[in-house]
Symmetry: C2
Subunit: 374 residues, 2 copies
């Protein structure tokens, strides 16, 4: 089975209930256009507020949350938590599209592109608040758990925004700045991408009432899966023949989904992806940081100069960088890191109290998201 | 005593504890520059992250919250709630400055002006989340009250964002659009400005454990005070000799504070305020809506044409509009509305269970914020 089909069969079964829950939340608000903008972005409406069923992301985070809660017999109880995480995730994307000046997301015009930057900022703000309102639905039912979940999730939400801050910071600094390091790059992708995957897994444990040790293993499972996934994305953005990644042609942020990640490796559906786009965009991803750390002094200066250009790089510059990358251990080094986090995620599964069938399912998720690179 | 001194003497005594609480929250985060941007905006740091003590707003909302909680013997217990409201309020201002393209707030460069729009959006997002994290501090102490307060405040936070949405919407529509009505204008200022004043008052009641009826009176007190205050601002922005209002030269949003509201009516400290600025900016405030509704048909068309200009209005156009306003009942009509909400706020005080001294204090707040217009 193809990677994309595996992911669909693993998570697709949770999509309906998450989407219904979010639709109900949005329908229960005032009829202001602001809420239609959210529905548009989530794929429920077209830009004239007419119902459609457009691709609104893979719903991986809420799917993972519900899948894990189901293992503890709490699928139904986890619905609001899963929905809140998906609402939050999509809020980050609405603002990210403004920040990256991206006109398209999932093949459709972005919120700011249709309604302007002010509405984009403001609608995103409202959606962030709605994530908390969705979560607060559990308070009556789960009086003891609600404050714990609220505090935990808001802390993780804050870390995601810190990840975005770090991304801006790394993008603005020259390659030779001491802040541009493997450590800080990993901190950035951890916060920006992985934390919310870890949060989805751990929140499922919290709502299910599992103990701290089990929660910790769930967190480790998700956060390491997220890290490995982002590193895979970084590798594919440079070395994949088709340039297929979850990114758009624009900046990588919060794991872009213009080409659905579901289509990863699905060569029959390639469209408009640019090979080595991360290099053209001078993204300081791990392969580049590793290259810069290990390359000869004279080439280091040249590389630094190329990465100090204000403009998008030329084909010749990109070719030069790729030659250097291929003569270095950057690919191998990044793959080793990817494998390190993938293994950590796998090891966390062993520590869980769930049955063998459920463990296999969690390992399947890892394999579906992280097929071996060719 | 001058209005500004009255306000200072009523609320200044709460400033220190609120500011210490917010400083502690920010200091307990990572050292990322993002948090220094918040401290800068709040007046705790300069733009090089050096400690200063700059004017950071009148802290009216947290002051009102603490003053009311104190009447119920719960001043200390209300601190986190008051701080969360102030943190939220200042988040709205950070985003509002971007949306209005305002370079200055409270006489200092805005966050986006110093660090760019992306950091402005992102830092605001983080600050909104911090409002919830500040609030969640009470969960251990007030297990029963926390979910109620969290749900109540997030609903009010959402209404503030809806107010901003309505403001964009009214600004974009022509004067003859049926949506541009007194009703929708009042809904806009209610959400954008008054709701958070009402929320500060009611939240004080919730944390103090008063009954629903008392909470309702507190809400009515705050929300009507906020409405009257905004209408006063609208009047002053057109008719005050000095043009002194709480607004900047730019768009009015979330009650601008470049010239501290504390200095309202303090003619010795006038600087850079433009008379009739709301007219130059073609703001569709209540006096203009009233004028449009009551003016002769031929002038109505002329007024509509003036207000359809994309550019800032000329002195001649502003003069014409002011002549029409002065020949109409727009001022009187708006004053009557102001008085209506002021009286409603006063009447709510009567319904409270607090002692006569406390009632006098709440009435003093009304009089300090709403001195009779000359």
């Amino acid at each position: 089975m193809k990677s994309s089909d595996k992911i669909k069969s693993l998570f697709g079964i949770y999509n309906n209930e998450v989407e219904e829950e979010i639709k109900n939340l949005l329908d229960s608000q005032s009829g202001f256009l602001m809420y239609k903008m959210m529905s548009y972005f989530l794929g429920f409406l077209d830009e004239n507020s007419q119902p459609i069923n457009s691709y609104g992301g893979k719903r991986f985070r809420p799917g993972l949350c519900l899948m894990i809660a189901e293992m503890y017999g709490k699928r139904k109880e986890a619905l609001e938590v899963a929905a809140a995480i998906e609402i939050y995730h999509n809020f980050t994307l609405i603002h990210d599209d403004i920040e990256d000046n991206d006109p398209l997301r999932r093949g459709r015009p972005t919120v700011w592109k249709i309604w302007g930057i002010n509405h984009g900022i403001n609608t995103g703000d409202a959606q962030l608040i709605l994530a908390n309102l969705e979560l607060s639905k559990i308070a009556d039912r789960e009086a003891m758990i609600f404050p714990i979940l609220s505090n935990f999730l808001n802390k993780k939400f804050l870390e995601v925004v810190e990840g975005q801050f770090l991304d801006f910071t790394l993008a603005d600094l020259p390659l030779d700045d001491e802040f541009v390091s493997e450590e800080n790059y990993l901190m950035m992708i951890r916060n920006k991408t992985s934390v919310l995957v870890g949060a989805a897994a751990k929140a499922a444990g919290i709502i299910s009432g599992v103990d701290d040790r089990e929660q910790k293993s769930l967190w480790e499972y998700g956060v390491n899966l997220g890290l490995a996934f982002q590193l895979q994305d970084d590798l594919l953005s440079i070395w994949s023949d088709s340039g297929q990644t979850s990114k758009t042609k624009e900046n990588d942020s919060y794991e872009k989904e213009t080409l659905p990640m579901l289509k990863l490796y699905d060569t029959s559906e390639q469209t408009g992806k640019i090979k080595a786009n991360d290099i053209y965009e001078k993204k300081k991803t791990l392969p580049i940081i590793r290259l810069y750390e290990t390359i000869d002094q004279d080439k280091k200066i040249e590389l630094m100069q190329i990465y100090s250009q204000k403009r998008r790089l030329s084909d010749a510059e990109v070719g030069q960088v790729i030659n250097w990358l291929n003569s270095s251990d950057a690919h191998e080094y990044t793959r080793d890191k990817l494998k390190y986090y993938k293994d950590k995620s796998r090891l966390s599964v062993d520590k869980l109290s769930v049955g063998d069938g459920d463990k296999s399912k969690l390992l399947e998720v890892i394999d579906a998201l992280l097929p071996d690179l060719k």
